[in-house]
């Protein structure tokens, strides 16, 4: 049940990310088009000077024409500046797009992380790594080290190998793998006993590590925050 809702929320999150990024790119694209369109044409100055020249019949003197040409040239120089402005605006818009896209991505990542943190806090312990060390006869769950007996270590190894192959083992099969006999010859109860022993040793150490701490030469204490305790 919670798995489906998690998948759904992830799908919704993905949709939000895609929609957000698309919206950013769209808005900035429209902005870029509007900006580039509203920038004056590089030839605008020349066209003004030309119109001035055509519309005024008295502007025929050599000196006056030279003056008009100089005006137009200064306008052309300005148009080079405009081209560089265009480039700067383009670069800035790309930067803005990249920044906003990362911002949205990080936001969504943050939300997802928060949800996951919440789930982890509720679930208590989530195993991120399981390392079985045969020579040290111990198993590492996350950062916790637990000592196991040979038999328990054997059971855990069998279970771990079965898990890697996505297999479910019955008690008889477990007993069969460990003892090296055919599962049909094995007793279901023998495997169940092995599981019980593994649970006992591992569970005992887990609880003492996570919940009931033993402080040397002092005594015992619950290893939890006192604010989370409620009595009903």
């Amino acid at each position: 049940m919670s798995f489906t809702s998690a998948t759904e929320s992830r799908e919704i999150g993905n949709r939000i990310v895609v929609a957000g990024i698309a919206a950013i790119v769209l808005v900035l694209g429209v902005t870029a088009v509007l900006l580039f369109m509203s920038l004056p044409d590089a030839n605008a100055f020349n066209m003004r000077v030309e119109r001035l020249f055509v519309e005024n019949d008295t502007l025929t003197g050599n000196a006056e024409i030279k003056l008009l040409e100089i005006l137009a040239q200064s306008g052309t120089a300005f148009s080079d500046t405009l081209a560089s402005y265009r480039f700067v605006i383009f670069v800035l818009l790309i930067f803005a797009t990249a920044l906003l896209v990362t911002a949205v991505a990080f936001l969504v990542m943050l939300i997802a992380l928060n949800r996951r943190m919440g789930r982890i806090e509720r679930q208590g312990i989530e195993v991120n790594s399981l390392l079985i060390s045969r020579d040290q006869k111990s198993v590492y769950l996350n950062d916790f080290e637990f000592k196991l007996t040979d038999a328990a270590l054997e059971t855990l190894s069998v279970l771990a190998e079965a898990r890697m192959d996505d297999e479910v083992l019955s008690g008889a099969e477990i007993e069969g793998v460990i003892s090296g006999r055919d599962p049909s010859d094995c007793d279901e109860a023998a495997g169940a006993t092995r599981i019980k022993r593994l649970r006992d040793t591992l569970g005992n150490q887990l609880v003492s590590e996570l919940l009931i701490k033993n402080i040397a030469r002092k005594g015992y204490m619950l290893a939890i925050d006192k604010n989370v305790i409620k009595m009903v």
Partner: protein, 93 residues
């Protein structure tokens, strides 16, 4: 007789002048970079702005100029006052 022939000569000359002496002043430009000029040209044929435009457009385009407009047509009496303004483009095209 001598007087008559002289006056006839004058008459003939003025007649040829009256027919040939048609001029137009115009404005033209070049792009990139913008260059402008004011010029005076002699109009051959019909003495009108339209003729001047048609005639100028081709000869100017030959040198990379673009005709902007023709201001008007006039006879030789208007030539001298425009000589300075037209400068190097005085009767060039």
């Amino acid at each position: 007789m001598k007087l008559f022939s002289f006056s006839f000569l004058i008459f003939c000359l003025s007649a040829t002048f009256a027919q040939a002496a048609c001029y137009a002043d115009y404005k033209a430009k070049q792009d990139n970079p913008l260059r402008l000029h004011y010029g005076v040209t002699e109009v051959r044929g019909d003495c009108s702005v339209a003729t001047a435009e048609a005639q100028l457009r081709d000869s100017l385009a030959h040198d990379g100029w673009q005709l902007l407009n023709v201001l008007g047509v006039f006879d030789e009496s208007g030539l001298e006052e425009r000589r300075d303004s037209a400068g190097e483009f005085y009767l060039r095209y």
